[in-house]
Symmetry: C2
Amino acid sequence: MKINVVKNVLEASEALAGANRRRLDEAGVFCVNVLSAPGSGKTALLERTIPALAGEAKTAVLVGDLQTTRDAERLGPLGAQVTQINTGQGCHLSPEEVAGGLDTLDLAGLDYLFIENIGNMVCPAAFDLGEHARAVLLSTPEGDDKVAKYPTLFQSAAVVLLTKVDLLGVLDFRIERVREDLSRVNSAAPFIRLSNRTGEGHEEWLAWLRQRRSAAGRPAAAPRRAAGEEMP
Amino acid sequence: MKINVVKNVLEASEALAGANRRRLDEAGVFCVNVLSAPGSGKTALLERTIPALAGEAKTAVLVGDLQTTRDAERLGPLGAQVTQINTGQGCHLSPEEVAGGLDTLDLAGLDYLFIENIGNMVCPAAFDLGEHARAVLLSTPEGDDKVAKYPTLFQSAAVVLLTKVDLLGVLDFRIERVREDLSRVNSAAPFIRLSNRTGEGHEEWLAWLRQRRSAAGRPAAAPRRAAGEEMP
């Protein structure tokens, strides 16, 4: 009985995630779920990414936090559509919350949607929100043992961003240890060294975004798709 | 029906936590639940704390991680009893897991038990494990907005440790912002600036431990308690 309840909840969650993805596909929006521990630089990444894409694409962000609208306040002035989702005690965003967030956005003119998940290396990994790809951040001050300790999160990554690499000089952090652990759990995802402070790695990250969006059926900086045309 | 199931689970969890605490009280063990995001320095804190207490007290550690025994391997050689608990997909330690961990320890000769929880600022905050006090760590690279974003965790702290303060010189981190947010959610907990690299703040942390253990009924560096004598 208990198992059935849990199974039904998970099936309902997966169905809702699928509905979100179809809605994004129909609008021609490429959606990236951004995941990491608290304070790894998710908002700082988007603070650089939104202006960098501004000349070629329209972006929106759904920002998840337990409390406060601080991240939305940081991202709001940058020209993207931004909606804050407060989960209260919730340890991850749910596909229901994302569906509600999509209702607040004008999807018709949109190219990229970033979902900034709750800062947590465990729970968000288990929930498909309807995204097309996951970007997983690991910050250098967190230590070089985190891929081995949280393999489920890194297994699901389409790209892994090692953030705050400007601090490498003052930390005891062995990148080779991260690469070794990644080679065991996810050898397919590109691994990008990145600093939101210096801008290192951002061109590589932007190139990844453009390539993945293009591969998802939308050429980079393409003219608007005709109504009714579907993404493959 | 669903609500009853959840309520029963929570009641069972609270009952188990209470049983753990009675077991610790009867053995005269002061227990601290150590909580933070991943990579904030929980293991590094214990790497300094265990040797510092070695001359005056016996310590043990229950170390929670989803995967790996890396933390136990770091702490094992320091002279404390150490048991690693792997939770698999579990986002927090449970009182059941702690009860199982207690079974592996020799409680009779013990003064301090540290429970190193899963690196997560959300889920562990909701679960009493049977500890006497919670130490909550916030590391400076995580940013000065985390108390406001994760208030439930900081509300439950008996002491707040700001770790990696040796990095303050290279970060844009405003301690006053943390103090302001803390004054709203938890003005009672001492706030200690700490560096596991330089040792800054460790005397203050050790003094807090000794004082709290003493207040819990055991004088610091006390002779062994007679069998059958109970903690108040």
